[in-house]
């Protein structure tokens, strides 16, 4: 710890961390504005804009018609004019009504223009299950967004990360998809686990993309995960520790760019990889993380496990959702299988 380090005691929920960064950037730059459904008077269904209307008014915290293609595309257009829109897709599950604007325009225009155009926008969207909202409102779709090139894909797991990643996202000149997990936000009616509420500096700061964070150091097994499952993995690690297994938990924080170095370094140390993902198992995050290791460090790999949502739409009833979503116990069991 260097002499100059600021000591931070104030704790925030993840939603407050995210909103604080947005407010800061909006104060600093008139060209930043936020568009979405129910983001103004309601404050965002998942508290993503809570309190912003009061300070910034309806012009800069804009409710929009239920026309995701139009308003996400309008964000692309405004961004190409040099403004810095933040546009919210209320649930990531709705991407299908607007995916062309997202991936064929927002994500590709910089490259297709040979760099003459840039699209400095942030697409915010709520992800994740755990509250029985069924197949059309519970997905993370991490793999879907990370697979298609041109978007930086951010998934915070704590208030500290949420704020720093949001500062970086808004200042970045490229399109950033910022996926916040509903269960982590600290919404009154959806109690968060303890982990995401962290100390958060009042000052602004940026967390670079592509820097995974080792949320727990360990020598025996590398658990690579993101979002909600960082906390489930930490729970699993605690209980594994009681059995004498020392797990390292790597929080990817961004899927694009992917911090392959941190994954490799950890696996080179532990020899064992468990990838945990709330998204569908096949053709997604788990496969990419595994292949990252086989690409560069096959010889170091003694055991691998994947723990993910099976390839089925997310069921509604509580016992069914719980069965399909990776639980801490599932992570523990997977780790045990590797030992």
């Amino acid at each position: 710890m260097s002499e100059q380090q600021e000591v931070v005691e104030r704790e925030l929920t993840m939603s407050r961390g995210m909103v604080e960064a947005i407010a800061h950037e909006m104060r600093a730059n008139d060209e930043v504005f936020y568009m979405g459904e129910d983001v103004a008077d309601y404050g965002g269904i998942f508290d993503s804009t809570e309190g912003l209307l009061d300070e910034f008014g309806h012009d800069r915290i804009m409710d929009v018609p239920i026309s995701e293609t139009a308003y996400l595309g309008a964000a692309v257009g405004a961004a190409q004019e040099g403004m810095r829109p933040i546009a919210e897709l209320m649930f990531v599950d709705f991407f299908g009504v607007a995916m062309d604007q997202i991936y064929n325009q927002m994500a590709k225009n910089t490259y297709m223009s040979g760099g003459s155009v840039s699209v400095p926008m942030v697409l915010t969207t709520a992800v994740g299950g755990t509250y029985n909202d069924a197949a059309q409102h519970s997905q993370t779709l991490y793999g879907t967004f990370a697979h298609l090139p041109g978007m930086k894909v951010v998934v915070p797991s704590t208030a500290y990360d949420a704020k720093g990643l949001m500062h970086n996202a808004i200042r970045d000149d490229d399109p950033v998809v910022y996926m916040f997990h509903k269960r982590l936000m600290g919404i009154g009616w959806m109690p968060a686990p303890d982990g995401p509420k962290t100390p958060v500096p009042e000052t602004d700061y940026t967390i670079p993309f592509g820097s995974a964070d080792v949320k727990r150091e360990g020598a025996d097994v590398t658990i690579v995960t993101l979002g909600l499952h960082v906390h489930r993995a930490l729970d699993a690690a605690d209980s594994l520790a009681e059995d004498g297994i020392d797990a390292e938990v790597v929080d990817l924080r961004t899927l694009v760019p992917l911090d392959r170095e941190t994954i490799l370094e950890s696996v080179r140390k532990t020899g064992t990889l468990v990838v945990v993902d709330e998204d569908y198992r096949s053709y997604g995050v788990t496969g990419e993380v595994v292949a990252t290791v086989t690409d560069e460090a096959l010889a170091h790999l003694d055991a691998v496990e994947r723990v993910a949502m099976p390839d089925i739409p997310i069921p509604y009833a509580r016992p069914l959702e719980t069965e399909t979503q990776p639980q801490a116990a599932d992570i523990e069991a997977a780790v045990e299988r590797t030992q």
């Binding site: 459904e37 129910d38 103004a40 008077d41 309601y42 269904i45 409710d63 929009v64 018609p65 239920i66 026309s67 995701e68 293609t69 139009a70 599950d93 709705f94 299908g96 009504v97 755990t130 509250y131 029985n132 909202d133 069924a134 197949a135 059309q136 409102h137 009154g188 009616w189 959806m190 109690p191 099976p310 390839d311 089925i312 739409p313 069921p315 509604y316 009833a317 509580r318 016992p319 069914l320 959702e321 719980t322 069965e323 399909t324």
Partner: protein, 346 residues
């Protein structure tokens, strides 16, 4: 003039739907005590109730047969009841039980009852294209069944809605699009999201008739729907209807509704559609006791459905892995054919 028997049927369905939503509200909120926690209680997930919108459901569905198709959006119960969906199994589904319509997999936004051709989806306006498809199937099969797509007034800015209007119009499909205008899309009042006060005007751009029923009077809806459904059944093509209704509750349970002015509620509560139909029944000479009997029977049916549902077991977790496909993943066969392909690919 609407037959008294039809008025009584509509009244029964309206009372059923109203009581149903009120009881679900109770059951839902009770489980969220003390502080509202969406993951607690007997009813999982979000819950969008339709109290105050019954006229739009019964006035249209009164004209429908079991083989007619209805698609509804995220706020589907009143329409499901009017369409004749199995109330017990629907309730069991809402409570996430094994004997629910969808074995606990769909939930309140994804109710499917193929016996009466009812389905719903939680994505705004995305029930419109499948309804057009049901109309297309009827047309191709030369049958006279029709399809009805319900949507909220907030959904009429969504691309899929427009595309469906055009698709139905150019192919003269037997489809009725029904907009339930409850003035709100969650917290967004309709004047914030479109310049057009009367959503049925959207029809003009497709050379399709558009009609608005500007108060939630079941009889007025019935009459407008008679023409629209009749037009479809007679193969004269689609119609767009808009019906003014009222959202008596929050958007979903737990909605603080801080965005909503008080008088928005009072004004509309005064012109309650069930009272209105009850007055009509009286004016047509129906006795108070008959009305009371209808009401009691409806309420009993709701209670019975809820009791039954709550008695049903939760699904076995393992069943989560079933129902992915109708056929095995390998399709209709799992043996490779044997041919001798001369110098070919084998």
């Amino acid at each position: 003039m609407v037959a008294i028997s039809e008025l009584q049927e509509m009244y029964t369905d309206m009372v059923t739907a109203r009581h149903y939503e009120e009881r679900l509200q109770e059951e839902y909120l009770e489980g969220k005590q003390p502080a509202f926690d969406i993951s607690a209680g007997p009813i999982p997930g979000e819950l969008h109730l339709a109290a105050g919108q019954e006229a739009a459901a019964v006035g249209v569905c009164q004209h429908l047969r079991d083989d007619d198709t209805v698609t509804a959006p995220h706020r589907p119960h009143h329409v499901a009841i009017a369409k004749g969906v199995d109330l017990k199994r629907m309730t069991a589904e809402i409570f996430g039980r094994e004997s629910g319509l969808c074995r606990g997999k769909g939930g309140h936004m994804h109710l499917f009852d193929p016996d009466v051709n009812f389905a719903c989806s939680g994505i705004i306006a995305e029930g419109c294209p499948p309804a057009a498809g049901a109309g297309l199937a009827a047309q191709k099969r030369n049958s006279d069944s029709v399809a009805v797509a319900y949507l909220g007034e907030g959904a009429i800015d969504q691309g899929g809605f427009f595309e469906s209007l055009n698709f139905a119009a150019v192919h003269d499909l037997p489809v009725v699009f029904v907009i339930e205008d409850n003035d709100w899309a969650i917290s967004m009042p309709k004047e914030r999201v479109t310049d057009v006060d009367d959503g049925s005007q959207r029809a003009a751009g497709f050379d399709m008739p558009g009609v608005r029923v500007d108060h939630d009077d079941a009889v007025a809806v019935y009459e407008a729907a008679e023409r629209a459904v009749g037009r479809a059944r007679d193969r004269n093509g689609p119609t767009l209807m808009e019906i003014q209704v009222h959202r008596r509750m929050g958007h979903f349970m737990g909605d603080p509704q801080t965005y909503r002015p008080e008088d928005d509620q009072t004004a509309a509560t005064e012109r309650d559609s069930i009272d209105r139909l009850e007055a009509d029944l009286r004016a047509r000479g129906v006795e108070d006791t008959t009305i009371k009997n209808l009401r009691d029977a409806a309420e009993d049916r709701v209670e019975e459905a809820i009791e039954w549902a709550k008695d049903q077991p939760e699904p076995d977790p393992e069943t989560a892995h079933e129902d992915m496909f109708a056929n095995p993943p390998s399709g209709v066969t799992d043996t490779d054919p044997e041919f001798d392909l001369m110098g070919g690919d084998d």
